[in-house]
Symmetry: C2
Subunit: 148 residues, 2 copies
């Protein structure tokens, strides 16, 4: 298939609050007070986990359909442990991001455990977010200072 470009554009509102625009949508990212923010919206790592859950919702349904399995209910809870030392600027040997991410999928579907496991395993491989988190992805930076 042809490669598709996805994009967001955004602007800093304060040192912790950011407004991102994606097509006709916009969403705000902030930090809770304990992390120095104004607590007006979810923080970046919560959006990351939500993005992963939203992605799995779609691919689990796609994969279930291809297995002729009807999903009556699907809940996805995700958590992860993170050492905020590097983020806040303290010395630390742990990575700045999640050390690992735990996904708990609770579904209701009339299918054997074997079929459900096959659906989930194929769904993992189809989900762009789990691919970008579990594998290495190159990030290129361009910086312009318009003051100068």
């Amino acid at each position: 298939m042809s490669v598709v470009k996805f994009a967001i554009k955004g602007e800093s509102k304060t040192a912790t609050k950011f407004e991102a625009k994606a097509r006709s949508f916009s969403f705000v990212i902030d930090e809770p007070g304990a992390l120095g923010g104004t607590n007006e919206a979810p923080n970046p790592v919560e959006y990351l986990l939500g993005s992963l859950a939203g992605c799995l919702n779609i691919v689990v349904h796609l994969e279930a359909k291809e297995h002729n399995v009807i999903i009556n209910k699907l809940k996805i809870d995700i958590d992860g442990d993170l050492d905020p030392a590097k983020f806040v600027g303290l010395p630390g040997f742990n990575r700045s991001g999640f050390q690992h991410i735990n996904i708990n999928i609770i579904l209701e579907a009339d299918a054997t455990e074997e079929i459900i496991n096959a659906i989930i395993n194929k769904a993992k491989a189809r989900c762009p977010i789990s691919d970008n988190i579990s594998g290495v992805t190159q990030i290129n930076y361009t910086v312009s200072n318009v003051f100068r």
Copy 2:
């Protein structure tokens, strides 16, 4: 520092629409019509890019403060190319996620290029989202079928 747990809980609303709850906040994830969705909200990959931008906003400001640099304006635009073949279930040799991610940071600050580059380089390493995307992160799955 002590490790901190971040979490979301969420529920499928339709085969493409998902509602995620993080603390007192909730946000909806959907797909545009062209990707089979009902276009009620940004899609997972747009939230991923927004999460990265929101994270960089915070750490660039933290790092600038430590360099005694005042940032008057900060815009962050991010895009990435993705081959949707695997996502939609077609054969394809490309990965399912972004092949690479491009970040364009436009700021206004009275500082030399050298200082700005130092701020951005240190900010990259402090940002949990860029760490989880650019490096490998283990994802653990637990699946329960409550039908059985």
